[in-house]
C-alpha cells in the first residue's frame, strides 16, 4: 500500500466486495435443479433464465469492466474514432434477434452446451468442432486477463499497489465460481449492473455540471484535439470513416461468437427470452455511450495520466467524494468479476465437451462433465492471472485484438449451418484456416494494427482485418463447397 490510500473509499469498496462474495456462495442454492451434478446446471444454470435474469446476465457479461476503463480511455486519446463501440453495440441486436433464437433452439433440442457442440451436431466433423472450440478457448483467455487488468486499474486508483490484492480478489472469484457455476455471476450481475447504472448516471449528471455543461465539455475536448494537430477530433476525418464502420460491423458479428456471450444465450429459458432481450438490451448501449463520454469529461476536467487506462479512476477520484469514489471503484471491480466468471465457465464448457469428452473420455457422465468443468474453470483463471502477473499488460491487449479477429472466423461454421445445407464441413474448415492464417499474417505484418489499407488504383480502403479475413474465409468455404465431391465436403453423416 502507498501513501495514496483513501481509507473511506477503501472501506466502501471492501464492503461491497464482501457483499458480492456472499452472494456468489449463496447463488449455489438459487433456483436449484433436481441434480446439481450436471453440466447443464453448473455450466448453464439449468437453462432456465427468464427475460430479466438474462438481461442482467448478458448485459453484465457483454459490457465488461474493461470496457468501462478502455472505451473512455480510447475516446480520451483519439476522440470520435473511439465511439465505434456505439454503432457496434447497436447493430449487434438486430443480428441477435434474427440469429440467436435459432441457435438456442438447435442447442436446446440437442442438449448442446457450446457452439462447438452445435457445429459437431450439425456437421458431424470432429475437426471442425475442434477448430471452433480451440478458437473460442484462445480468444477468451486474453479477454479474462483484461478483466483482471480492469480490476488492477481500480485497485491502483484506491492506492493499492502490488499483486496481492489482485490475487485475493481472484481467489474469491475462482472459489465461488467453482462452487456455484453460472448461478454466481447471474446473481451478482444484478448488483453489478445496478451499481454501474448508478455510477454512470451520477457521473454524467454531476461531472458536466461541475465543468459547465456538455457544450463546454465538447468545446474543451475540441480545443485539446486541435492543439494536438487535428489528426483526430470530435468528428471523424475522412480516412477514419471506413475503419470506424468496418470495426463496428466486424465487432458486432464477432461479439456473440465468444464463449461467454454464447453461454449467456444458451442459459436462457426460451427463444423468446432472447428476442425480448434483443429489444431490451440496447439500454446498456445508452450506458456505454455515456461511459464513452467520460473520455471527453476527463479532457475537460484537465485529468493528466501517464497511461490512458488510469483516466477513469483518476477522474472519479478528482470529482467524487471519497465514499462515492469507493462505490464506483467497487462497481467497476465487480463489473470485472461477472464477465471473468462467465468467460471461465464458457471456456470450461468448451474444454469439457469438445476436448475432454471428444478425445479423453467419451464415456464421461453428466456428473463427470460438471466435475471436469469445475477444475477447468480454475485452470483457465489461473492462466489469466499468471498472464497478467508475469507478462506485460500489452501482451494481453495485443492478444485480445487478435482474439477478436480469430473468433470472427468461427462465424461461418456456427451461423451458416442454421440456414443452409450447402456448406460442407471440410470446406468450412478450409475457410477457417485461410481466415485465421491470413488475418494473423496481415495483423502481424502491419505491426499489430487492427485495420489494413488496401490500394486499388488510386483509391485507398482501410478496413478492419477481421472482416477481410472473414471475406476470404467465406469465399474459400463457398468455392470449396462447390468443387469438392459431395462425400468429401459433407464429412461423415450426423449420428
Amino acid at each position: 500500500m502507498t501513501n495514496g490510500t483513501d481509507w473511506i473509499a477503501l472501506a466502501v469498496f471492501i464492503a461491497f466486495f464482501a457483499l458480492v462474495t456472499i452472494l456468489g456462495f449463496v447463488a449455489a442454492g438459487w433456483k436449484r435443479g433436481e441434480s446439481m451434478a450436471h453440466l447443464d446446471e453448473w455450466g448453464l444454470g439449468g437453462r432456465q433464465f427468464g427475460t430479466w435474469i438474462t438481461w442482467f446476465l448478458v448485459g453484465g457479461d457483454f459490457y465488461t469492466a474493461y470496457t468501462v476503463i478502455a472505451v473512455p480511455a480510447l475516446v480520451y486519446a483519439v476522440g470520435a474514432y473511439g465511439f465505434f463501440a456505439l454503432p457496434y453495440t447497436i447493430i449487434v441486436y438486430p443480428f441477435i434477434f434474427a440469429v440467436m433464437p435459432k441457435l438456442w433452439t438447435v442447442a436446446q433440442a440437442g442438449g448442446y452446451v457450446t457452439a462447438a457442440d452445435v457445429v459437431h451436431g450439425r456437421y458431424g466433423s470432429r475437426a471442425l468442432e475442434l477448430a471452433v472450440a480451440l478458437t473460442g478457448l484462445v480468444a477468451v483467455m486474453p479477454y479474462i486477463a483484461l478483466q483482471l487488468v480492469g480490476m488492477q486499474v481500480v485497485l491502483r486508483g484506491l492506492g493499492l499497489t502490488g499483486e496481492l490484492p489482485l490475487i485475493l480478489a481472484f481467489l474469491v472469484l475462482a472459489i465461488y465460481t467453482y462452487s456455484s457455476g453460472l448461478r454466481a455471476p447471474a446473481l451478482i450481475a444484478f448488483v453489478k449492473d445496478i451499481m454501474i447504472y448508478i455510477v454512470v448516471i451520477v457521473a454524467v449528471v454531476i461531472i458536466p455540471m461541475k465543468l459547465g455543461g456538455y457544450g463546454a465539455v465538447f468545446a474543451a475536448a475540441d480545443k485539446a484535439f486541435q492543439a494536438k494537430g487535428g489528426a483526430t477530433g470530435l468528428t471523424l476525418v475522412p480516412g477514419q470513416m471506413m475503419p470506424f464502420a468496418t470495426l463496428a460491423l466486424g465487432s458486432a458479428l464477432a461479439g456473440f461468437m465468444y464463449p461467454h456471450t454464447l453461454t449467456g444465450v444458451f442459459a436462457s429459458g426460451s427463444a423468446d427470452v432472447l428476442r425480448k432481450n434483443a429489444i431490451l438490451l440496447p439500454a446498456y448501449t445508452i450506458l456505454l455511450g455515456l461511459i464513452a463520454l467520460l473520455g471527453y469529461m476527463g479532457i475537460a476536467a484537465g485529468v493528466k495520466v501517464a497511461s490512458a487506462t488510469d483516466m477513469v479512476p483518476t477522474l472519479f477520484r478528482t470529482v467524487f467524494p471519497s465514499w462515492f469514489a469507493g462505490f464506483s471503484f467497487a462497481a467497476i471491480a465487480i463489473g470485472a468479476l461477472v464477465p471473468a466468471a462467465v468467460m471461465s465457465i464458457g471456456a470450461a464448457n468448451l474444454f469439457t465437451r469438445n476436448v475432454w469428452k471428444a478425445y479423453v473420455n467419451p464415456a464421461v457422465t453428466p456428473a463427470g462433465e460438471a466435475a471436469v468443468a469445475k477444475i477447468a474453470s480454475m485452470v483457465v483463471k489461473l492462466g489469466a492471472l499468471l498472464c497478467i502477473i508475469v507478462l506485460p499488460t500489452q501482451f494481453a491487449i495485443d492478444l485480445q485484438l487478435l482474439g477478436g479477429m480469430w473468433i470472427l472466423q468461427t462465424f461461418p461454421a456456427i451461423v451458416f449451418g442454421l440456414y443452409t445445407n450447402w456448406f460442407g464441413a471440410t470446406a468450412l474448415l478450409l475457410g477457417w484456416i485461410v481466415g485465421i492464417v491470413g488475418g494473423t499474417w496481415i495483423v502481424v505484418l502491419d505491426g499489430l494494427r487492427p485495420v489494413h489499407t488496401i490500394v486499388l488504383g488510386a483509391d485507398h480502403y482501410t478496413i478492419y482485418v477481421g472482416l477481410l479475413a472473414l471475406a476470404a474465409n467465406i469465399v474459400v468455404a463457398g468455392v470449396a463447397s462447390a468443387v469438392l465431391p459431395r462425400h468429401v465436403r459433407r464429412g461423415p453423416e450426423v449420428a
Binding site: F83, I91, G215, T235
Partner: protein, 55 residues
C-alpha cells in the same frame, strides 16, 4: 417486416450520413446524438418485427 432490421445497419455503417457537428442538441454535436438516437429506434424496429411475428 424483417427488412426493418437492416435499417440500423444502413443508418450507422454509412458514416457520411452523420459525420458532422451541426445541428447540435443540448451541447451534443450531431455525430453523437444521431448515434444515441439510433438506440431507441433500433429497439423500436426490433419490437415491431417481434410483434409482427406473434400475430
Amino acid at each position: 417486416m424483417w427488412a426493418l432490421l437492416l435499417l440500423p445497419f444502413i443508418g450507422l455503417l454509412w458514416v457520411p450520413f452523420y459525420d458532422f457537428r451541426e445541428p447540435s442538441v443540448l451541447g451534443f454535436p450531431f455525430f453523437y446524438w444521431y448515434q444515441f438516437a439510433w438506440v431507441p429506434i433500433t429497439s423500436f424496429l426490433t419490437w415491431l418485427v417481434w410483434r409482427g411475428m406473434r400475430r
